[in-house]
Amino acid sequence: MFGSGLFTGLRVTMRNMLKRSVTAHYPDVEPDLPPRSRGVIALQEENCTSCMLCARECPSWCIEIDSHKEVIPATTEGGKDRSINVLDRFDIDYSICMYCSICIEVCPFDALHWSPEFAYAEGDITDLTHDMNKLREWMWTVPAPPALDAGAEKSKELAAYEASLSVEPVAAPPEVAE
């Protein structure tokens, strides 16, 4: 009908007014973020082997890594000494980072994780470079991975671990009578 659009406009706005508003009251109420939201990159320092893959793959060159080798002497006589890399510096410059997630994908040892923490604005751009201590702290905010979908295939690692549990433990040797 001619002019019915006028009433539709009034009806829609009135219905909106009588419904609850959808505003997120952010500073008062923390937002409910999806599990895989990209807030900040956290570093599990213990997992890092300084392999430099993340720093090399980073499209914007925002990761800087320094490390040195430490030798762990052989624990058994005649054994071989082991050497490990220890991080001296692991900086991410969040003023350059473009949150592409490539470093996290590429890390072979699961040292880098997404944390949903997002409120790390700074007053000065140079303060946006965060060192490994800060990145390690963010690790505590990383949520547990979301549960798999119903009927989904288990991850290979988990399947292998569970398979190892189901193996009968080797029976203890019978006690020898004295």
Binding site: L6, G9, L10, T13, N16, M17, S21, T23
Partner: protein, 322 residues
């Protein structure tokens, strides 16, 4: 009570209404518009649902620097906000609110030509925008000013015709007289007039959907582009005072003014209630409807509203004669 004291008291009351009612309407616009768009609107100022937002805005405007562009026509530019604002104060003087606890009518001054006076004052208010547009030395302001002029020319006629129909039905130009003569069946008999009057009033105030002169997407802010600080605040206050005056006039002419139960004591409350209801309708129209194009604005006035108003006038004539 001496006459002088009474005059002072009435002036203070009208001034008080002039300073508070537009702010209440403004706050209602903030909140109602927000909720119609599923937002919450101001929440911080004054701690409870942002009730003090407009006071905070006022404080902010006072602090701002007052700038006159070098290209502007100084005196015209400086005078325009006052020309926009004061007429609505003048118009408010002559609008009745109804009986106040058995006392006489709550009104600044009861004029025999009240309707004529208020309509004349309202048209002067639009000249403020026109002056701002032509005096700012800015092309956007200028185009906005031209649109204001076109809109004023188009909508003055249907508004006056619709008001004339009511005055004819009541047989008087006095606003208290019209409200006294009001009968409930006027709601139906004067309905086309009511629609024409309200629509033309919206256009006269340059309220959306008739805000083609302001059209922020194409003209920045039209005639008030160059204004800031207190002068801008005066234009803003003029807009809301205009809404109050339009709503009050619609109430008195078409909705029976203070008519309602216990109107001998609470007539003024009935008037205020109706004024706020009509103001809500003004806000509602802003949220619900997109802006009319400039040619649509003018063709609506000449092709729809003027014929409708003339029809109403003819209808009223027959009713009065019979």
């Amino acid at each position: 009570m001496s006459d002088f004291l009474e005059v002072v008291l009435r002036c203070v009351l009208v001034l008080g209404a002039f300073m508070t009612l537009p702010l209440l309407v403004g706050q209602m616009e903030h909140k109602a518009m927000a909720h119609m768009q599923s937002r919450v609107g101001p929440m911080k100022a004054g701690a409870f649902h942002g009730w003090a937002q407009l006071i905070a805005d006022g404080v902010k405007f006072v602090q701002k620097e007052s700038i006159v562009p070098t290209a502007a026509d100084g005196p015209v530019f400086r005078l325009a906000p006052a020309v926009a604002l004061v007429p609505y104060l003048v118009a408010m003087v002559a609008i009745p609110l109804g009986p106040f606890f058995g006392q006489t009518n709550l009104i600044g001054i009861d004029l025999d030509l009240g309707l004529f006076f208020v309509l004349a004052a309202m048209s002067v208010g639009v000249l403020g925008s026109l002056m701002g547009g032509l005096g700012s030395g800015n092309k956007y302001s200028y185009i906005g000013g031209m649109r204001v002029a076109a809109q004023l020319m188009s909508y003055e006629l249907p508004m006056v015709l619709a008001a004339a129909s009511v005055a004819m039905a009541a047989g008087t130009l006095s606003l208290t007289g019209i409200a006294h003569e009001w009968e409930w069946w006027w709601l139906i008999a004067q309905l086309p007039g009511l629609i024409v009057f309200f629509t033309a009033g919206l256009a006269e105030l340059q309220r959306p959907p008739f805000d083609a002169p302001l059209a922020d997407a194409e003209l920045v802010m039209g005639p008030i582009t160059e204004y800031g600080g207190m002068r801008f605040a005066m234009f803003l206050l003029a807009e809301y005072a205009g809404i109050v005056v339009l709503a009050a006039l619609t109430t008195v002419l078409y909705l029976g003014g203070w008519a309602g139960p216990w109107s001998d004591d609470f007539g003024w409350l009935w008037s205020l209630l109706k004024i706020f209801a009509v103001s809500f309708l003004v806000i509602w129209a802003r949220v619900a409807y997109p802006r009319l194009r400039e040619d649509q604005v003018n063709s609506l006035a000449w092709k729809v509203l003027v014929p409708l108003a003339l029809l109403q006038l003819t209808l009223t004539t027959f009713v009065v004669i019979l």
